[in-house]
């Protein structure tokens, strides 16, 4: 295998630097493994090189202590010694067994794969890295081989002939490296004839690494922050309010008057929860301004919460228990404030949790609350598809408003934009939110172009930084994983002149700007509700000359305000 270096373990001493896109692509030669004389992957764990730029930093002990996770310590991925507890193997095997008994998905997916290879070239990391262990089937086989060794008779007796291998420190490191090179995007599961979902295997695998305190800091820190302050960014209540107030200043300069949202207000009809990324970092902040302006235009009876100030849930990338604990705040706060239902902002994995986990995990907490089946106070539409969970996606809400003609829109304000839409993995493949955002975009923008069909909707590609991998130190991994998405954006950029990439995910908005800057610098990233607010005409607003980013609107370039 030309692509698996022979000797490694310790990183090359030279500082890692991201190469140019051309060099990166040249380095992605899928034709190089052609001989078949290489040693089989069952024996290559000791050869795995943990490359700088392709992984995230280890979690600091404080993060784990904050949420009571086991084995907190200072360790480094690049060190030979990961300072594992003495009985680490026992812990892993017990954890493995426990999960085989609790999750049918895990047990079944360990047993039924036929290695047909349909998933092999569906993974964005495989396409972008050509590393054969990034084929979804092989990522799962790294676990199946150990499963066979310890949990099947054939594997116990026949060993490698039955595809089984011992669990040792090299195998553990190999697991870790490839577990944190999977974004749980589920694209492979769409193509698998048995619906084997690598995300399930990665989720379980990451739970196992967490038994040994082997999380990455980019996941563990948001988890610890979210637990205490209510959001991933660790923004304390007063600061959270300050940041929103900063948006209100900005909005005031655009529309000419100040809007007054409320925080932690009891008796509001609706609780609004969005990922804190929208409050904290560009370009998500413009999306947050978009929400504020939309709700103002509607005169919506709603409140923000500083306690449940996070829509995202990095617990999903840590363990079921952490996910449940962090998610519990949503219903707890809805009950405390006495709201009727929850409106959720634009976020990817948040909506996987809300759609597929939240009701199951925490609905009993809503007992005795004032929550009821969500009804839009503006149009009277019942959101029957959210009857039980009582949480509505903002694009469902806005699409309904537009359909009923409740918004005054001037899409020509977005005429300088040629927009394409990136389906975020989780709303697409763990929910099916495909038409709502498109309907909204088409009503607020005049120029909309789709990317090629094999790269959108249920076949959409990950941004390359989902599931907690959107750090800075793994930039090469992100660029490699982002390559298929960037390639499709580049196609519509060259063909139609697309210059705006819209999405409904806070991680997308954090990750894709770097990816675009690297591969297609002419294209900028936006949330859908930033586009909405640009087109939205508020009652009593002054004539707008600039968009939410303070840039001149089309035809207003010479205006004095600019």
């Amino acid at each position: 295998m030309a692509d698996i270096p022979k000797s490694w373990k310790v990183a090359p001493p030279k500082a890692w630097k991201l190469t140019t896109p051309e060099e990166l692509v040249k380095d992605t030669d899928h034709r190089r493994y052609t001989l078949g004389l290489e040693k089989g992957w069952l024996r290559t764990a000791p050869d795995v090189e943990i490359k700088p730029g392709m992984h995230c930093h280890a979690a600091l002990p404080k993060r784990l202590e904050d949420v009571g996770m086991p084995n907190p310590r200072t360790w480094s991925v690049m060190d030979e010694d990961w300072k594992l507890p003495k009985n680490w193997k026992e812990i892993i095997l017990e954890g493995f067994k426990d999960r085989l008994e609790r999750f049918r998905s895990f047990k079944l997916f360990m047993d039924i794969c036929v290695r047909c290879g349909a998933c092999a070239d569906k993974c964005h990391y495989f396409i972008g890295s050509a590393d054969p262990k990034n084929m979804p089937v092989l990522r799962a086989e790294l676990f199946r081989s150990v499963y066979r060794k310890y949990f099947t008779t054939a594997g116990k007796v026949l060993g490698p002939i039955a595809g089984a291998r011992e669990l040792n420190i090299d195998v553990l490191k190999e697991w870790w490296y490839y577990l944190y090179q999977c974004t749980e995007c589920r694209r492979c599961s769409v193509f698998c004839p048995y619906g084997i979902d690598t995300a399930e295997i990665t989720l379980m695998g990451r739970e196992l690494t967490n038994l040994l305190g082997l999380n990455i800091d980019w996941i563990a820190a948001p988890v610890a922050f979210c637990n205490r302050t209510g959001n991933h960014m660790g923004i304390q209540p007063h600061a959270y309010k300050d940041m929103i107030e900063f948006f209100l200043d900005e909005i005031e300069t655009i529309i000419g008057y100040r809007i007054e949202p409320t925080f932690n207000r009891k008796g509001a009809e609706i609780l609004f929860i969005t990922p804190s990324g929208d409050v904290f970092g560009d370009p998500g902040t413009y999306t947050a301004m978009g929400y504020l302006m939309l709700f103002e235009a509607l005169g919506l009876d709603y409140t923000w919460s500083t306690y449940a100030s996070e829509g995202g849930n990095f617990g999903l990338f840590t363990s079921n228990e952490i996910m449940k604990k962090l998610n519990a705040k949503m219903y707890a706060e809805a009950k405390r404030l006495g709201v009727k239902w929850i409106l959720g902002g634009e976020c990817g994995h948040m909506w996987r949790v809300v759609n597929q986990y939240m009701g199951t995990m925490n609905l009993d907490m809503a007992e005795g609350s004032k929550m009821e089946e969500p009804v839009s106070p503006i149009t009277g539409t019942k959101f029957e598809n959210a009857r039980s969970t009582k949480m509505v996606h903002i694009t469902e809400f806005t699409a309904d408003l537009i359909k009923h003609g409740k918004l005054k829109l001037d899409p020509s304000r977005n005429d300088h934009l040629k927009v394409t839409y990136h389906d975020s993995c989780n709303p697409a493949r763990a929910m099916g939110l495909l038409e709502e955002p498109r309907y909204v975009i088409k009503n607020v923008c005049n120029n909309f172009y789709e990317m090629p069909p094999n790269t959108i909707r249920e076949q959409t590609f990950c941004c390359g930084g989902g599931s907690g991998l959107n750090a800075g130190e793994d930039m090469e991994l992100r660029m490699r994983g982002g390559m298929p998405r960037a390639n499709a954006v580049k196609y519509v950029h060259e063909k139609y002149g697309v210059n705006k990439l819209a999405c409904v995910c806070a991680i997308d908005r954090a990750v894709l700007p770097n990816t675009m800057e690297y591969f297609v610098p002419e294209v900028d990233v936006t949330g859908v509700h930033e586009l909405v607010a640009n087109a939205l005409i508020l009652e009593g607003e002054k004539e707008r000359t600039v968009d939410l980013r303070g840039e001149p609107l089309p035809g207003m370039e010479d205006s004095e305000d600019v």
Binding site: M1, T28, G36, L37, W41, F103, K107, L108, D111, I112, R115, C116, A118, A120, D121, T153, A154, A162, S189, V190, F191, P193, Y194, G195, I196, D197, E200, T229, Q236, P237, K241, F263, N264, T306, Y307, E321, K324, A332, V354, N355, Q356, T360, M361, T381, E384, N385, R387, S388, T389, A399, R429, A430, M431, G432, E435, E436, P452, E458, M483, N487
Partner: protein, 351 residues
């Protein structure tokens, strides 16, 4: 275990499996005068069938006992949401919200290999351009293999039923439609061999497949190929004594096993290999046949926001409550004008 070792090993094992009945039924009687037809014709087939059924039931029960904590369908189309957003048949099948939709999805998956039909192939053009081409060959090969195998199995009902079911002669008639040889050549057998060869060549020629393939992937291919070959040889070349064979097989199914005279060794090889396949089945990847029905990403509807899905082991957990949060930040909250549940303790009380 690289591709070559895996090939040698699985090929070798299948060759050995062919040699065992050859020795037992043909060589032993000639050399030592020991007759083992009863072993290969009666004992081993009975054992294999027992292992097959007990094994499958055991495995399915094991899977079935395992809970499904969360509703995790892969949603491959638009969800059912607002009434005016199109949710037609295609959406009902690829993103079902009702049981009927799930049943439809499973039927498509099991009978038409729906997901495999989506298959694409990544191609790297010049420079950075990546394109995705439709790639239906795997789907076609898989369909040919599974359906031909089904036809072959149904045709074999002739040997274990008396009178045989009405559909068996119909299948034979259709299968032998092109009467270009005597005895009538059944296309299913030849196509089955061709499909298996395609699936094998695919594993050998595609570097990705070669990398992921294990002994457990080559072995069943070789084994089924050997079964097909011995079947074809028996029918068209050695012209086995069908009447005696039927006497033996009817004896097996009526629990009055007998070993009639005049059955050639090729039959014993064939039935031994089939027995091995039956016995191997429950412990192998071939269990995907039963497993596909239990796959949580396919057999669950996407209705977890409409009806609560119950997790039987949903653990009660202590989360960070609002009260703890407010205790932590109360003064800052008051200063920022945020409402609080409890007022701050007065400076006097603090002391």
């Amino acid at each position: 275990m690289n591709a070559i070792l895996s090939l040698i090993l699985s090929g070798g094992v299948v060759s050995m499996l062919v040699a065992i009945p050859l020795l037992g039924v043909w060589a032993l009687p000639h050399v030592f005068g020991i007759h083992l037809e009863w072993l290969f014709g009666i004992v081993i087939p009975y054992l294999a069938v027992i292992i097959f059924f007990v094994g499958i039931v055991y495995k399915v029960v094991q899977w079935g006992k395992c809970p499904v904590p969360f509703r995790i369908p892969s949603t491959c189309a638009q969800q059912k949401s607002l009434p005016w957003i199109k949710y037609g048949y295609a959406q009902k099948l690829d993103n079902p919200v009702s049981t009927a939709g799930v049943v439809g999805r499973m039927i498509l998956e099991v009978l038409c290999f729906r997901s495999l039909f989506r298959n694409t192939r990544v191609e790297f053009g010049s420079g950075e351009a990546i394109t995705y081409k439709s790639a239906k060959w795997l789907w076609l090969g898989a369909m040919a293999f599974h359906y031909c195998f089904l036809v072959v199995i149904l045709r074999h009902l002739r040997f274990v039923t008396e009178p045989m079911p009405f559909f068996v002669p119909i299948i034979e008639k259709v299968d032998g439609f092109f009467q270009f040889f005597l005895p009538t050549v059944y296309q299913s057998g030849l196509l089955l061999g061709a499909a298996l060869t395609f699936l094998l060549l695919r594993r050998l020629l595609d570097p990705k497949l070669r990398y992921i393939s294990l002994v457990a992937d080559y072995f069943p291919l070789f084994l089924i190929l050997a079964i097909v070959k011995t079947g074809i040889l028996m029918r068209y070349v050695f012209k086995a004594d069908v009447v005696s064979i039927k006497e033996l097989t009817m004896g097996l199914v009526s629990f009055h096993p007998t070993i009639p005279e005049g059955i050639s060794v090729i039959f014993y090889i064939h039935i031994f290999l089939v027995s091995i396949l039956f016995a191997y089945f429950p412990f192998s990847k071939l269990m995907h046949m039963a497993g596909v029905f239990l796959s949580p990403t396919r057999n669950l509807s996407n209705n977890s926001r409409i009806v609560r899905h119950i997790n039987p082991w949903n653990p009660p957990l202590k989360y960070h409550t609002y009260e703890e949060y407010e205790d932590d930040f109360r003064e800052k909250m008051i200063e920022a004008g945020l409402p609080v549940e409890k007022q701050a303790a007065s400076p006097a009380a603090k002391e």
